[in-house]
């Protein structure tokens, strides 16, 4: 995955900064609350939502369970339709393939459709290192690129920016990359969109190489699908002579008909629309229409490792809609950057530690970046039980055990930093397996209750920094029960 995120602090530290940033809190609150209500309405229009969700889940599960067969089928179908298929085991290999393909065209710039896969592998940086400039053309990606920023949301990577900040970035940075922002640019969204249109238009019209991802690849037909809103996708997919699509191997659906499910669930879950403005579908190349050369790069980069985990593999069902981010109370307050990955929010908290492993501080902390409230699971259009996978990954962090990394079995040691917790959990487990021990502890707490401080030192400060402790009662319930025989004695 992109080197940009190496050395990120653990989630709690990164989130602490975000929580105290009033502008960021306001931006995120406004945006997520806007989309939550809209999504609920868009979903309520479809009476068979539960059936669509179940169908999406089953299609994806079936595909994943037979992924080897469907990958080969994709390769055959795309090749038969005039495309060229490449296989990339990891980010470096994918970057090498794409760089080589661009160089073979003789071009030194490319236009890009918003793509999570190319963000994940750090393609822009890899191209830059080889003297190839990649222009992001999605409005939010453009804002991030111009602002030398990092994406903080799957669907709207610049969600952390408000209109005023976007205007300032356009005014100061557009001229560095091409056509400057119009004079007197205000912060109305329509004017900002117009500025982006003017800025990018010359790039679209002269582009010779386009780079995209895909939302879906249909194995039966070899068809790729890109779902978008602005038309930048259509520009990149149809005007250049060469199109290179980098697609995670989990994006496959078996049959053409399967699109009927996802074309109903994805737009409603992501932008809360009945249908997004533009969806492009292409199968190989078409004489006289669109790119003459089409390359499909199938990307693993940790996906097969994820597939090997019987609990965690459900994360590969994800269709990148962002509904879980928009509904997540933790995301709303911590912001996307705290997740240290191009995949933020609840889905990021289960994807990143699987795609990258739990070795780094940030990845080991992500499974804990949730109160397990379940709102993510409730809105997920492919029914990924995110809380289940979070708890599963917590186990991996604290208990270690066998996992697959880069296709090989390794045995993880329990993560450092959890030793005290582990000891406490084991002690508690012992005490709680012995009712007498529990009772002794309860009585000790009750007897000393007048001595308990209102604020705690050390790790306890994490509680008492913002909350009072509950008062310990004069006697635990079990003592009252025994003393009064369940209140039958009439004693208080």
């Amino acid at each position: 995955m992109s080197g940009t995120y190496l050395g990120m602090p653990a989630f709690p530290e990164a989130a602490r900064t975000a929580v105290r940033d009033a502008t960021l809190r306001g931006n995120l609150r406004h945006a997520t609350h806007t989309i939550r209500a809209k999504r609920a309405k868009a979903v309520s229009e479809v009476s068979d939502w539960a059936a669509l969700r179940e169908a999406g889940k089953r299609i994806k599960d079936h595909t994943l369970r037979h992924l080897d067969r469907y990958l080969v089928q994709v390769e055959e179908a795309v090749t038969a339709a005039g495309g060229i298929v490449h296989w990339a085991a990891d980010a470096d290999e994918a970057n090498r393939i794409v760089t080589r393909l661009v160089k073979e065209t003789g071009e030194s710039e490319v236009v890009k459709v918003k793509s999570m896969a190319t963000q994940e592998i750090g393609l822009n940086e890899a191209l830059e290192a080889e003297g190839i400039r990649a222009y992001e053309t999605d409005l939010a990606e453009l804002i991030v690129q111009l602002g030398k920023d990092r994406p903080s949301h799957i669907l709207v990577p610049a969600i952390h920016r408000n209109r005023g900040e976007i205007r300032d970035i356009f005014r100061s940075e557009m001229s560095e990359w091409g056509r400057p922002a119009p004079d007197g640019l205000t912060d109305t969204p329509a004017e900002l969109a117009e500025a982006a249109r003017l800025h990018l238009r010359e790039k679209f019209l002269r582009a010779k190489v386009g780079i995209s991802g895909a939302n879906f690849v249909v194995a039966e037909t070899g068809t790729l699908v890109v779902v978008e809103s602005e038309g930048n996708g259509r520009m990149c997919l149809t005007l250049p002579e060469t199109l290179i699509s980098v697609v995670g191997i989990e994006k496959i659906v078996p049959a053409w008909r399967d699109l009927e499910v996802f074309l109903q669930t994805l737009p409603r879950s992501s932008t809360a629309e009945r249908m997004n403005p533009y969806t492009s579908m292409w199968t190989g190349t078409t004489d006289g229409d669109g790119p003459r050369t089409f390359h499909l790069v199938l990307l693993d980069n940790g996906r097969t490792d994820t597939l090997a985990d019987e609990v965690g593999r459900q994360a590969l069902r994800c269709i990148r809609c962002s509904a879980c981010l928009n509904v997540c109370p933790v995301y709303e307050r911590a912001g996307g950057h705290a997740y240290g990955s191009v995949y933020p929010g609840p889905i990021g908290a289960i994807l990143s530690p699987q795609l990258r492993g739990t070795g780094s501080e940030i990845d080991a902390s992500l499974p804990y970046a949730s109160s397990l409230c379940g709102a993510c699971y409730e809105v997920c259009p492919v029914a990924i039980d995110i809380p289940e996978v979070l708890v599963h990954l917590r186990e991996r962090v604290v208990q270690g055990g066998p996992v697959i990394r880069h296709g090989n079995k390794v045995v993880l040691k329990p993560a450092k930093g959890h030793a005290a917790e582990r000891a406490a959990m084991r002690a508690a487990q012992w005490a709680l397996s012995h009712p007498g021990a529990l009772r002794t502890g309860q009585r000790l707490a009750s007897r000393t209750r007048r001595l308990h401080p209102r604020t705690l030192p050390g790790p306890g400060r994490a509680w008492t920094g913002s909350r009072d402790l509950p008062e310990v009662p004069a006697e635990p319930f079990r003592d009252w029960w025994q003393r009064t025989r369940g209140g039958r004695d009439g004693a208080k």
């Binding site: 602490r16 109160s371 913002s466 009072d468």
Partner: protein, 250 residues
């Protein structure tokens, strides 16, 4: 009917009043309640923090203590969800790990007969008016595991609406998590505190003096936040409201 009160370790230790309220309420409704003294903890904190193997003996112990009863009632949505949702999953995982079906078989008997209190009242006893009197303005926070885990739906609301003297007011953003989340509250204390403060602000905006929920873990967090923010509101467990009668507050 032999009904066992599974009070939960948190309530037993810190909130005995809730336990007494449940006993009073169920007794008033003609239910004979037992409190098996050997009960301890369902293992939820262990399980959700990643200590599934440590949670297993606690789950076995739970089953040993409660399996002979006809119904197991708990005034906690999250502990109820632990038994109902996660015990079966623990059994499945043990099987998937090649440890056979004994854990699943041990836990199976308690799963279908464990009820959260409001579920037990509405679904098993078939009552919504429990004869309570509580002359206060109350706002209700549906806790996550009750709402999304157990699917309690409008049961708590129906019970509260039937309480004499009680005025129930709508909590804005009611379905959003309060930020407790077990060890989340300390592992991610900044985000947890921000969520708690927002919950308290929303509660205060209702004008109610009492915030009611069906889970004391969440109320410990919300109440602790209220106290720290010097809010005039107080947290009250739904059992204590339902147990209150004219002239005798629980």
């Amino acid at each position: 009917m032999r009904v066992a009160l599974f009070l939960t370790c948190v309530n037993d230790t810190l909130y005995p009043d809730t336990g007494r309220a449940v006993v009073k309420l169920l007794t008033r409704l003609g239910v004979e309640v037992d409190f098996p003294m050997a009960q301890t903890c369902c293992g939820q904190a262990h399980y959700n923090t990643g200590y599934r193997y440590e949670a297993e003996p606690l789950a076995r112990h739970f089953s040993d203590v409660f399996k002979e009863y006809e119904a197991i009632v708990t005034p906690s949505g999250s502990c109820g969800a632990m038994v109902r949702e996660l015990y079966p999953r623990m059994g499945e995982r043990a099987r998937a790990e090649g440890r056979g079906g004994t854990l699943a078989a041990t836990l199976a008997p308690v799963v279908p007969k464990t009820y959260e209190l409001t579920e037990f009242l509405v679904d098993v006893l078939g009552v919504t008016d429990v004869g309570a009197y509580y002359p206060h303005t109350v706002t209700y926070h549906p806790t996550c595991h009750g709402l999304r885990g157990l699917g309690l739906g409008d049961r708590p609301r129906r019970l509260l609406e039937a309480v004499k003297g009680l005025e129930l007011v709508e909590l804005p953003g009611a379905e959003e998590c309060c930020g407790f989340g077990g060890t989340f509250a300390v592992k991610n204390s900044d985000v947890s505190a921000a969520m708690g403060a927002d919950k308290v602000r929303n509660a205060e905006s209702t004008g109610a003096r009492v915030l009611c929920a069906a889970d004391n873990s969440c109320l410990m967090h919300i109440g602790g936040t209220m106290a720290r923010l010097r809010s005039g509101m107080r947290p009250v467990h739904i059992a204590q409201i339902l147990a209150s009668t004219e002239g005798a507050a629980a």
